[in-house]
């Protein structure tokens, strides 16, 4: 048959082109960096983060003593985490709403690899951005602080800042996981904002409910935002609890998203 004739022809210029995870990562980097929504998200994160750090730094003179300089840089996280989560969500829901996911999955039919590549890329992009943001924030707030960062004490400086970078990457992954699981942009963003922002408020309402609801209030520390606060507290003693809790929050939606991605038709 002609199939036999066709096969050697292909073999003679057997392409060096080969699907690999490294290639997939490069593709995902191109994808994320060629969308305006990414740059908007990163820009908003930067403006929010540096702006709020400046405000806190300006006000810190009036706080009196005992305010860790690292907190000036880290406090904006409770706002920027939302943008991080939303970026994670739209990285994948944008593919579903436009149909791009079908191109993605025909180029790489092993779906687990697609999810992993996206997770690595979106986490790295957010981590790199956060490093830059922190560097700028440290530089611009320095003149306003009476007591700057003490680099000789890692527990007061580099450790919480590094864990802050990790936390931002984790928030992005929470959004990504919900995106894979829910597929719809609005749904995934609602779930992400709900977990990051609304649940802590709901939990805190129960602090007025008396002792019988105290367990619920105590449980609030296992929410992502509070886990991140434990993790990034300068000189904190609950790093392990915070770290494990945040890791579970970042991974659980991703694992569920992976199960959904494997099982469903695209």
């Amino acid at each position: 048959m002609t199939a036999v004739a066709a096969a050697p022809r292909r073999a003679t210029h057997a392409p060096a082109f080969r699907l690999s995870f490294a290639h997939l990562l490069k593709s995902e980097f191109i994808k994320i960096l060629t969308l305006r929504s990414t740059w908007w998200s990163l820009g908003v994160t930067a403006v929010l983060s540096i702006g709020i750090s400046l405000l806190i730094a300006a006000a810190s003179r009036d706080f009196g003593g005992g305010f860790a300089a690292a907190n000036v840089i880290l406090s904006p996280t409770q706002f920027t985490m939302l943008v991080a989560g939303i970026l994670g969500a739209i990285v994948i829901t944008g593919e579903y709403s436009t149909g791009m996911i079908r191109s993605t999955l025909t180029a790489e039919p092993r779906r687990g690899a697609v999810l992993l590549a996206k997770a690595v890329v979106v986490a790295l992009v957010m981590a790199a951005t956060t490093v830059v943001i922190y560097a700028v924030a440290i530089a611009v707030t320095a003149p306003l602080l009476t007591e700057g960062l003490d680099w000789s004490e890692p527990a007061q400086s580099i450790v919480p800042l590094a864990l802050g970078v990790v936390s931002m990457a984790a928030f992005t992954l929470i959004g990504l996981g919900f995106g894979f699981l829910i597929r719809s942009g609005a749904g995934a963003i609602a779930a992400t904002v709900g977990v990051l922002f609304v649940l802590p408020i709901v939990f805190s309402l129960f602090s007025f409910a008396g002792a019988s609801w105290q367990w619920l209030v105590d449980g609030a520390k296992y929410l992502p935002v509070n886990a991140a606060a434990m993790l990034t507290a300068p000189g904190g003693d609950e790093l392990a609890t915070g770290g494990i809790t945040l890791a579970v929050w970042a991974l659980a939606p991703l694992v569920l998203g992976w199960v959904a991605l494997r099982a469903r038709d695209a």
Partner: protein
């Protein structure tokens, strides 16, 4: 070579593709025909692993698509023009797709050139016309220089120049020994492009045959006959299958006989003929005859 064996896809209690088996051979263009909802797109999506068959199996060159080590160099797919992120430029879309297989910029520029989208390559795909979107989709399908092409409605929305380009291009690819499967609703286009046709209706294979065979099996040749002594001629026709209908005074249309029979008959009786025109059936006639009962979304006949 694409081989589908007992392919079935159910959505709830609706069966979109029902025990479909066929082989798409290399070296020729295979057309996929069928009414809307016949299961063409679903079948194509199952070939490339986007949809999982409820039962049955489909392979490309003997392998499950999901197990291919370099899918883009094996299979080029255009499923619909909307498989592109609207916020990304055409060139960046192609770069991202190419990067998955380590295909370089040179090939990206080549397919941009080949499909004629150079002037809009830097623009965001969301603003593309249907035709430009199709060209971009075809460009993406060609990135890996694949030996199998699966094109769902490739000429949908293209201008006449683009339609002709697709036709010549897929014929050229098939002549190189590649496997080409394409669907289209444009019968005249399909008749000019395909060598072999698979007709689907309500999720089943209604026909799977070379195009000329399909047309001759499912249509009958009609003869237009003009003569001053028509009555005599018609009454001397003693063929039970023949049907005669009057077109206008002095002209009839006859089916079920060959031009040769009528010509010989006229000569034997000394009847002059003014016209004897055989009219072969078209792919469209064959298609309509085939799918008559299996059209799911039927339009009402205009009285």
């Amino acid at each position: 070579m694409i081989v589908a064996e007992h392919l079935t896809k159910r959505y709830g209690d609706k069966t979109a593709v029902d025990d479909v088996s066929f082989t798409v051979a290399p070296g020729r263009v295979t057309g996929f025909l069928g009414p809307n909802g016949a299961g063409k797109s679903t079948t194509m999506r199952m070939i490339v692993g986007l949809d999982r068959p409820s039962s049955g199996h489909v392979s490309v060159r003997g392998q499950d698509y999901r197990r291919l080590r370099s899918p883009l160099t094996e299979v080029g797919v255009l499923l619909d023009a909307k498989a592109i992120h609207t916020g990304r430029s055409a060139r960046n879309h192609l770069r991202a797709m190419a990067a998955t297989h380590g295909i370089g910029r040179a090939r990206v520029d080549e397919v941009i050139e080949l499909t004629g989208i150079g002037s809009v390559a830097g623009k965001r795909a969301g603003g593309f016309s249907l035709g430009m979107g199709q060209r971009l989709g075809i460009a993406a399908a060609l990135l890996g220089d694949p030996h199998t092409l699966i094109l769902d409605e490739p000429v949908n929305g293209l201008d006449p120049e683009g339609v002709r380009w697709v036709r010549q291009f897929v014929r050229h690819l098939a002549s190189e020994g590649r496997t080409v499967l394409l669907s289209s609703h444009l019968m005249s286009e399909m008749a000019q492009t395909a060598d072999h046709v698979i007709v689907l209706g309500r999720g089943r294979v209604l026909a799977d045959a070379p195009l000329p065979e399909l047309v001759s099996t499912w249509t009958s040749t009609t003869l237009v006959v003009r003569s001053p002594r028509l009555d005599e001629l018609v009454s001397s026709l003693r063929i039970p299958d023949a049907t005669v209908s009057v077109l206008e005074p002095g002209a009839v249309q006859i089916t079920g006989v060959t031009a040769q029979t009528v010509g010989d008959l006229a000569a034997a009786h000394g009847i002059p003929l003014y016209e004897l025109t055989p009219k072969a059936g078209s792919l469209e006639d064959a298609y309509l005859a085939l799918t008559d009962d299996s059209v799911e979304y039927k339009t009402k006949e205009i009285a």
